[in-house]
């Protein structure tokens, strides 16, 4: 089975308007796909890589601390309205539920890549932040490195990533019991924040808007070099009507690497 190339190859910074350009584009065509308008509209002669104007008071991203917003809070309503409008907008441009979920996934993907960097940056620099990471995966007190194996990666997602996004860890982490699908893992969220205010109409009952979060997870996996497909599935219970399972399916190359690392004794 041919694995598509990791999507982060096409990623650029947030400031780039094409940052989440087509995820399935071929690596070789990356440059053209990711920056079409730069190619077409770059006529201004004096533009170099530092062509941006900056305010005289230098209120640029380079002058402000990256941790400034670490403990900042915004209204949950604002997120809900933005997310809702993202769903509405996506809905106008898709052909069905699967297509809609794919699109939401693509919108979450760049967040995953960025949050990953943010997580590592913060755990390496700020000692106070280590509490966010220590309890979940690492047994040592040292700052976590990029995970090499699947399990540490999953703990990173289940713990620190979830805490960064939703201020609490995910509710469960499981490995597929089926011998046919050793590459499948499941992360459960009993009450996904993104779905709090959303009631999916009956005729779309398969839809789970947490596909956006699945995209975030996928971004984190890809960013760590674990090529994976992540999907969100409804698993309601009486007590948790919007309980969601995130199904992670790692690519063959990842599974093969796991075996090699296993033999080499890498944790």
């Amino acid at each position: 089975m041919a694995q598509p190339p990791p999507r982060h190859a096409t990623m650029l910074s947030l400031s780039n308007s094409n940052s989440n350009s087509n995820s399935h584009s071929n690596l070789s065509s990356t440059t053209t796909i990711s920056t079409p308008q730069t190619q077409t509209h770059l006529p201004t002669p004096s533009q170099s890589s530092t062509g941006l104007r900056v305010p005289s008071n230098r209120k640029t991203i380079y002058d402000r601390h990256l941790n400034r917003s670490r403990n900042a809070e915004l209204s949950r309503a604002s997120f809900a309205f933005l997310f809702g409008e993202m769903v509405t907008y996506a809905q106008r441009r898709v052909t069905g539920i699967q297509d809609l979920e794919r699109r939401l996934n693509e919108q979450g993907y760049p967040l995953g890549l960025r949050l990953l960097d943010l997580l590592f940056y913060r755990t390496v620099t700020g000692s106070s932040s280590s509490s966010a990471l220590s309890s979940s995966s690492s047994t040592s007190a040292s700052p976590p490195n990029r995970p090499l194996r699947i399990l540490p990666l999953l703990h990173l997602i289940h713990g620190p990533l979830w805490r960064l996004l939703f201020t609490r860890p995910a509710d469960a982490l499981e490995h597929s019991v089926s011998p046919d699908t050793p590459n499948e893992y499941m992360i459960t969220d009993n009450d996904p924040l993104v779905n709090t205010y959303i009631s999916v109409p009956k005729e779309m009952s398969m839809l789970n808007c947490a596909a956006f979060v699945a995209g975030i997870i996928e971004g984190v996996c890809d960013g760590c070099g674990f090529e994976a497909k992540v999907t969100a599935h409804n698993q309601p219970t009486e007590m948790w009507p919007s309980r969601t399972i995130f199904l992670l399916r790692f690519g063959e190359s990842v599974m093969e690497r796991e075996k090699v690392l296993e033999r080499a004794g890498v944790k």
Binding site: N18, H41, A77, F79, L82, P110, L165, L193
Partner: protein, 192 residues
């Protein structure tokens, strides 16, 4: 001035006691991904992106006003000056935890500016270095639409647009808001 102070107090109190919170970065990055998606969908046509952002904001505003009213319990404003204070000190406070300065009133009290010291939507953001974005894209344009949608639902037709943005290299981020008219019992303008 006292109405301004009163509004500030209401806003602060609501933010502290009535507003459910989320991580600010989740909101910021989500907004960023929306803008990036639009830039991609409209192929770098920033004018169109501005328009779409305004439209999205308009849709949000029409809904958000109910949340504003339900949380704040605020009655109808006596005049547009009071409305401006409510927008800045209560509205922006409870939704973005900021309170842009209300300033530059025209003599007829129908136009003012909101000057943003902070803009959580634009945290982490640098516009594309393509020689055009800094001249054409209003990154936070969704806010103009939110104001238009929200105020229309409480019978005020307004027009709002940004006149400067630190992301463009300006020294301040400023939005101009104009009251077009109060909507009486009549048909609203056709909008999507």
């Amino acid at each position: 001035m006292s109405s301004t102070t009163k509004a500030s107090r209401i806003g602060e109190e609501l933010w502290k006691t009535r507003v459910d919170k989320v991580n600010a970065e989740l909101v910021t990055l989500t907004y960023g991904t929306i803008v990036a998606q639009l830039c991609q969908d409209y192929d770098g046509n920033y004018q169109e992106v501005n328009k779409q952002l305004e439209k999205m904001g308009y849709n949000i505003g029409m809904r958000l006003i109910e949340d504003f009213l339900a949380k704040s319990n605020i009655g109808r404003c006596a005049n547009f000056r009071e409305t401006a204070d409510m927008i800045s000190k209560v509205g922006f406070r409870i939704f973005l935890n900021i309170a842009p300065t209300v300033t530059n009133w025209t003599s007829d009290n129908n136009q003012f500016s909101l000057v943003f010291d902070e803009n959580p939507l634009a945290d982490f953001v640098e516009l594309p270095d393509d020689g055009r974005a800094q001249d054409e894209l209003w990154f936070s344009n969704i806010l103009c639409g939110v104001l238009r949608g929200a105020l229309e639902m409480v019978q005020m037709q307004i027009e709002a647009h940004f006149v400067s943005d630190v992301l463009r290299g300006d020294d301040a981020t400023e939005m101009r808001v104009s009251l077009v008219r109060y909507i009486e019992d009549e048909m609203p303008p056709e909008e999507e």
